[in-house]
Amino acid sequence: MAIQAFIQQPTENSVHAAYRPVIVRVSATANNGGGDTPPVVYCDIYFNDIFYKTLSKTLRSSLGSGNSEWAFDIQDAAQEFLQKYIAPIGQSTIEEVTEIICKAFCRMRCSGINDDGFIEQDGTIPVQATSSSDATPGTGLETNAFYIVNGTLQHKDQQDLVTHLSYYKTGTWVPDVHPLSHRLDGYALAPADSDQFPILDQGDRSISNIRLNYRNCNQTEFGQASISAGATPTCNAIISPPTALHNLSGWLVSWNLVSGSPNRYFVSTPEVSGGAPQEAFISEYQLPELSEGVHVVTVRPLCLIGGEFFPGTAQTVNITVTACVDLTSIASGLPDAIEGVVYNHSLAVVGSTPLALSDIIKPAWMTITASGSNILFSGTPVGTGNENVIFTVSNCGVPTFNFAEVIEIVAAPAGDGTLTITNARPGSSIINVTPVIWTNQVGSYPLANGQSINGDLVTPFTGTVDVTVTLVSGTGTLRLLENGSAIQFVAVSGSGTFTIPSDTYSPGNAYLIVLTP
């Protein structure tokens, strides 16, 4: 990613007013070595750990040294997101108010111009929630997590919200609790009035007790009374709808934690232990084989609050179990393999899944796995000659199938693969490329603009390739092309050795390592 660093961001766990600037500034360069200024920089805003919206900018705030600076103000998004909340009249419990404050962070993403001239965003693009689907998170360079309150500060006010609020404390307060009101001593009420006093707690406390200090008419002393006024805690952990996957042990039920911090999960279905909840401490649970029919599996997060467990909102998944179908056939005809060329083949099996493999005899380089209704064969052949592929496949049914075939590994045709190293960047030279994975080299270093080295690729190679480059000024891009298609990009800036990420160079293909502007 070409987002380089944060120049300015809110500090961790700081609290901000939604109607004052909340600024994130980053330095960035274009992707794919496209220069100091990306075409677009994106600021993905997350509220309460859920993607809310993206701010995008095409105009940098300034040009830095070898990069550009970009500034985003997320106050408008916070103003949209935050809401008012008025408690019911006469409510006598301490109530956590989630509408007027939110946790926030941003993920920054960059972009570049691809070979076709289109703007290409980097990372995973997040998706907004709709009325029928949840938001999908994306990737990017993440800011600190901070908090935004649905409030404002006047021009004359201290612009740090927490410091401002501390000037409105009357009586005893701890430093990390603040009033969310500017009311002063002498706040007037009638004997039947309803009222709440709003506070902001930075200490993650579980507040439940209050003490009333009161003075009756015609008295000078204050009386005192205490009581617990805590509301029943609620578990705000949210999980995604679970999914169920059949495997050799039964059914694997898995889910994702969307938000919150549950201590554990309860998983239950009527056929397992009479519907008693089974505990899971990670986001999956292995159920045994279930009988034929439809089974409703319920997953419920549990939060541990003040030493007690409180259930969150449950999600369910239906598992439909059909009768076991015996194995009836397995396809045949494994193709021969070429030495050094990746081998990938699958054969279909007819019968219930999951499939089990046993008594396997195979070449050392080959991996055989069962995936759904297919047997997968993969690997990169080593050596030549005939090899046996033998195994037994079984499922929930009685009959098993024995598979036995012979495949031939033929030698890769020598000289079929080529590797060319070309310099197409004015004002530069290629000093060296290591390791030497080719033979029959034609041409020599250093390669000035327009010069090349050619070689034959006889044996396969998998790994990184280091290219030593001298640039007079500016930047460039190292590209690796396979049969004319670009498969790797490396930005080059200044002189030095740059690494092309690990890739497989197979005989039979034409590779080009080229340095471009």
Binding site: N13, V15, K84, Y85, I86, A87, I89, G90, S92, I94, E95, E96, V97, T98, I100, V149, N150, Q154, L165, T170, G171, T172, W173, V174, V177, L180, S181, H182, L184, G186, Y187, A188, L189, A190, P191, A192, D193, S194, D195, Q196, F197, P198, L200, D201, Q202, G203, D204, R205, I207, I210, R211, L212, N213, Y214, R215, N216, N218, G223, I227, A229
Partner: protein, 191 residues
């Protein structure tokens, strides 16, 4: 770590349920402390009980303050105006004549009450806080036991109005006036 906002019970109606032995009609002033174990972590300002409960013209307005939470102020109504607006239509007199039929009729009737109220319990130091009431985009009037509904809120629309925040004469008595309409106009039948 999470930063959280809480609403602490602070009104007599809220506290009466927690402290049934305390008669708030006899209380002159009080404050509430929020506790963590035996330690005080927050304290409300000193609340004053100002007797207005027996007067039908007294009511409480709750408003969105500048920090996103809700504050409230008691007022005494000093004027209530009912203001209907309508258009008229005219149709021919029917033949044969129906004595009860209208010719010129009224339609598109809209009406609302405009209420003017005042408070005299706050002084000059509270004026900046009172600005938040006059500037608030959202406010409600507290209604108690209207036709057996229990306690409820009725949304109101605060009308723009100038208020004197500092004065030289009678500077220790500040009469704050507010004008508002109900957010929902009266529903008028048509036929």
């Amino acid at each position: 770590m999470a930063v959280k906002a809480y609403y602490i019970p602070n009104g007599p109606a809220n506290l009466a349920a927690l402290f049934p032995s305390i008669d708030f009609t006899q209380v002159a002033e009080y404050y509430v402390e929020v506790m963590e174990g035996d330690a005080v972590i927050a304290t409300t300002p000193m609340n004053r009980i100002c007797g207005c409960e027996d007067d039908d013209d007294c009511f409480r307005i709750h408003f969105l303050n500048a920090l996103g939470a809700i504050d409230g102020i008691d007022f005494k109504m000093i004027e209530k105006l009912h203001e209907p607006k309508s258009d008229t239509f005219q149709k021919p007199t029917s033949y044969p004549l129906v004595k009860t039929d209208h010719s010129v009729g009224r339609f598109n009737v809209k009406s609302n009450d405009t209420i003017r109220a005042c408070s005299v319990v706050y002084n000059e130091e509270h004026m900046d806080w009172l600005d938040e009431l006059f500037d608030s985009p959202v406010a409600w009037i507290e209604l108690l036991n209207v036709q057996g509904q229990g306690g409820t809120y009725n949304p109101i629309l605060i009308l723009d109005k100038k208020n004197q925040k500092v004065k030289q004469e009678d500077r220790y008595v500040y009469q704050v006036e507010i004008e508002f309409k109900f957010s929902h106009e009266r529903f008028i039948i048509r036929n």
